[in-house]
């Protein structure tokens, strides 16, 4: 209970401050409507404006791009982590492509995949892919030598070695990548929906801005914030379930999310 109170303290205080400032006129309510008004709008009006379709469209793009991007990132990260040759061959390319802002390549992606669904899924894919690839690679490389030696001494077959030694050994780093990538996917998909989309949270925000329906715009922002928190905590939960051996070691206990 105490932990929950701790976690709610900052967001609740921020909202309260905002609410007070709007109500007392410190903030101009035309630009900064009170959060209670926005929530009311979100519940009462937004559904009729099609917010469910927008969230659905964004989620669809995220889920497809994220899941395929993460899978590809984990697989290539494992290969590059285990094989020095592949690493030498591909790492320079990865190091060059990774820092390019993925939104900057959106026009190029749209040129290749058209302005429809595919281009948005592909940018999310690319964004997730690089983050997970780099984290997986790092995780595999930093597995202690002794675990490889134990596997060799007991002649663990290749497949089993990959599944039961390399994958769990790199799993904490992989999860770090997965958590970064889900937040990043949200960022990318919203930005991608600003142009050339007919549905999505980004589309909703941009449309609302253009028609100056600021409450709808804020509703979109609220939804993004909620989705972001839900994804982050969902992955934390999944990590605790899948890596029970990792949770109460070192920093895991303090962060205790």
């Amino acid at each position: 209970m105490k932990v929950l109170a701790m976690r709610l303290l900052a967001p609740v205080s921020a909202f309260a401050l905002w609410e007070v400032c709007s109500r007392t006129g410190i903030l101009d309510v035309r630009f900064f409507p009170a959060p209670s008004i926005i929530l009311q709008h979100l519940v009462m009006v937004s559904p009729s404006e099609g917010i469910f379709q927008d969230v659905g469209a964004s989620l669809f793009r995220i889920i497809l791009g994220y899941s395929t991007g993460c899978t590809a990132g984990i697989l290539l990260g494992m290969v590059m982590g285990l094989s020095v040759r592949t690493r030498n061959l591909l790492y320079p390319l990865v190091a060059m492509l990774y820092p390019i802002p993925k939104i900057a390549v959106l026009p190029l992606i749209m040129l290749i995949f058209g302005i429809g669904e595919m281009s948005k899924i592909v940018v999310v894919f690319i964004g997730s892919f690089f983050l997970v690839l780099i984290n997986t690679l790092h995780g595999v490389v930093s597995i202690a030598r002794i675990y490889h030696q134990v596997a060799r001494v007991y002649r663990i077959p290749r497949g089993s070695y990959l599944r039961h030694v390399v994958l769990p050994g790199a799993a904490p780093a992989i999860f770090a990548g997965l958590k970064l990538a889900i937040g990043y996917s949200l960022v990318i998909v919203v930005a991608a929906e600003f142009s050339g989309a007919d549905a999505g949270i980004g589309y909703l925000i941009w449309q609302s801005w253009e028609t100056f329906s600021l409450k709808s715009m804020y509703a979109g922002l609220f939804v993004i914030a909620l989705l972001g928190a839900a994804f982050a905590y969902g992955l934390e939960w999944l990590e605790r379930r899948m890596l029970p051996w990792h949770k109460d070691r070192g920093s895991g206990e303090q962060s205790g999310m």
């Binding site: 134990v150 001494v153 007991y154 039961h164 769990p168 051996w245 109460d248």
Partner: protein
């Protein structure tokens, strides 16, 4: 046992490593043999190349010159099963204790028809860890982890067991308990053990024969046969004149190394 061919035979063994342009000699011209069923200790100060020697015997590394054979085969493809116990942290942290054992068992051709989990539990019981089957390594003490590691190495019923200072990070009492446990387990199965340590007492308590090595480069200094009767009970041994006599022989053999170690 001595009439049969030795299990391990090393002749003119050399191992060098590249080091800042030149090379450092870890092992120089080493000859020794280990008989089947023998408890063989390699004793030497740090830097005598004893861990290197173990990685050569285990096939994890290969010699620069000379020959090293296990049962007449090169160490890279040993015909016998090898078990190994490392200094620490060799249990997979993501597996429970029983899973750590059953994992190596289920991939072992000899246990293809047995139940790995049942065997794992039997061995954990033997080392007094039956209440911790489901515990993860980080949830138990260092001594318990090493007992589990020993159980894992014995569980595969190896013909040759290699141990690299397995008790070095344990406190005095826990170390004694582990040493006694090792002696008791070995008394039962009588596999060949090659045990590396820098602890003179430990070597004399455990071994049938102790090879003393000098440091930098590592080479053979003396071979001491240890005829203390078996089965051994540590508490009785530690105060017996025969044992103390062996320890002083070890100290004398390493007099030079111990002195230089203290001043350097």
């Amino acid at each position: 046992m001595t009439t049969k061919k030795p299990l391990i035979a090393a002749q003119g063994l050399v191992k060098t490593y590249p080091f800042s342009g030149g090379e450092v000699v870890a092992i120089q011209n080493l000859d020794f043999q280990v008989a089947r069923g023998e408890f063989f200790c390699v004793l030497g100060p740090s830097g005598c190349g004893k861990s290197t020697l173990l990685s050569l015997v285990s096939g994890l590394d290969s010699p620069t010159a000379g020959s090293l054979h296990i049962d007449d085969h090169p160490t890279q493809a040993p015909p016998v099963d090898i078990g190994m116990v490392f200094q620490e942290h060799a249990l997979f942290p993501w597996m429970t204790l029983e899973r750590n054992l059953s994992f190596v068992l289920e991939h072992h051709p000899r246990f293809i028809n047995s139940n790995p989990l049942e065997l794992a539990r039997t061995w954990l019981h033997k080392v007094g860890l039956e209440k911790f089957n489901q515990a993860f390594p980080h949830q138990v003490s260092g001594g318990m982890r090493q007992r589990a590691a020993i159980a894992r190495s014995f569980a595969v019923e190896p013909s040759l067991l290699l141990m690299d200072e397995p008790f070095v990070y344990l406190d005095y009492q826990t170390r004694m308990q582990c040493q006694q446990l090792l002696l008791d387990l070995w008394q039962e199965v009588r596999c060949t053990i090659m045990f590396v340590t820098h602890d003179i007492e430990e070597a004399m308590l455990l071994a049938d024969r102790v090879m003393i090595m000098s440091s930098r480069p590592g080479s053979r200094k003396e071979m001491i046969s240890n005829a203390l009767s078996r089965p051994r009970k540590l508490l009785d041994l530690k105060t017996s004149p025969d044992f103390l006599n062996l320890v002083s022989r070890g100290v004398n053999a390493l007099r030079h190394e111990l002195q230089t170690e203290a001043t350097s």
